[in-house]
Symmetry: C2
Subunit: 268 residues, 2 copies
Amino acid sequence: AMAGGSWARAVRGLLLDVSGVLYDSGADGGVPIAGSAEAVRRIKASGLKLQLCTNETQATRENFVRKLRAMGFDISVAEVTAPAPAACHLLKERGLRPHLLVHNDLVPEFAEFDKTNPNCVVLGDAAENFTYANLNEAFRLLIGMEKPVLISLGKGRYYKETDGLKLDVGAYMKALEYACDIQAEVVGKPAKRFFESALAELGVPPEQAIMIGDDIVNDVGGAQQCGMRALQVRTGKYRPADENHPEVKPDAYVNNLAEAVDIILQQL
Amino acid sequence: AMAGGSWARAVRGLLLDVSGVLYDSGADGGVPIAGSAEAVRRIKASGLKLQLCTNETQATRENFVRKLRAMGFDISVAEVTAPAPAACHLLKERGLRPHLLVHNDLVPEFAEFDKTNPNCVVLGDAAENFTYANLNEAFRLLIGMEKPVLISLGKGRYYKETDGLKLDVGAYMKALEYACDIQAEVVGKPAKRFFESALAELGVPPEQAIMIGDDIVNDVGGAQQCGMRALQVRTGKYRPADENHPEVKPDAYVNNLAEAVDIILQQL
């Protein structure tokens, strides 16, 4: 990755994935990845624009930013693009009344919506709320709708916490899709519309932006589909087998965010 | 269905699905479907051969038969073809050590197997055992295997209990398949090998056998793939939309098992 680095030329803004790039999440709140807080400060000092682009749905954006700041990351709420606000936008546009199967800490994001007599299901990374009873309830609501609407906040397969790998929302999305014979609408990475919102907030066109993430499909593949360059870090849920992915090839691999920032800043 | 009935000619044996055909299952043990116990007696009196072909995995065959007998069905253990014994056969053949994610009451079926250091996961309709923790555990074992082996006892979407529809094993199978990027091996309906075992136990070739079930895909479609005729009953999880299924067309619809038996016996 260090040799060359032509992929780093003519960049004006960075989109960063969060879990696995800035920190490793966990029941204990997670731990920062070495060098990442300093890397965020160096990006800002350089004049490059920066936006976090996350599929995090276990907390409101406000609480999420509070956690990042406590870990030493200089980040504000406006610098975070996350699925729940995007889903709220979609619900409003279409006049939908959601049934929520999400993490307790995400519920306040949907405070404005009428939840009686729901006409869609919103699925997030509900973690401990993924109980047999809650999954059956979401299923019954969907199968009872004339035209079932399932909105999934991301479609990740799994993620890494400090105590091991966990099934992500995508696995539960597939369970409900199969049971109801429907296709979910995905809000979050890798949806094109979601990356486009993040770019709009970044204020930089795709050809001048680089996405940096640990997920070969949802971060790297999704960003490249939007015309961005994309790097995979070898932190977080990265696995060596990702380097033989049949469909997605990053513009470069970097050992971590700090190394990516080293190379990018050298090119400025 | 009554008019004609040419589909009923030259039959020597019947394969019957159980839940939704003989009885409706439920937390209370379930309730027999009107006329079904009498229909089983009439089949036996007629000299037709009979075998139950079920994807039931919430109890050992012995306990399952005990429950059926208490509801008035004249059935013996040898007359039941079920996924767990078929899965045990497969595990023995291949020297596999299973990790079980199944209903507590099914565990005794797998008593003979070493479960330390598992090299496959066996998934059944685990019901209340489908917890977030248990699903993560099965996932971690699979993703940690060099060549993950997931054996699924059926792949049903959902079933009907007296208190409503419940997600079936197939939904959880899809969740694990997606998370691990693998294909499960299905033991049970609609697998051809499973129907062939049931026919061998029935002692009748496929062209002289009729399958009767409430599941358009797993009962009707699966049996037809094996060269059997197949009827869909309008009991259990039957829904009117099944009659417009894009791929599967039963040889006939009948209101219930009793009606099917009326027509078949008239042809003898």
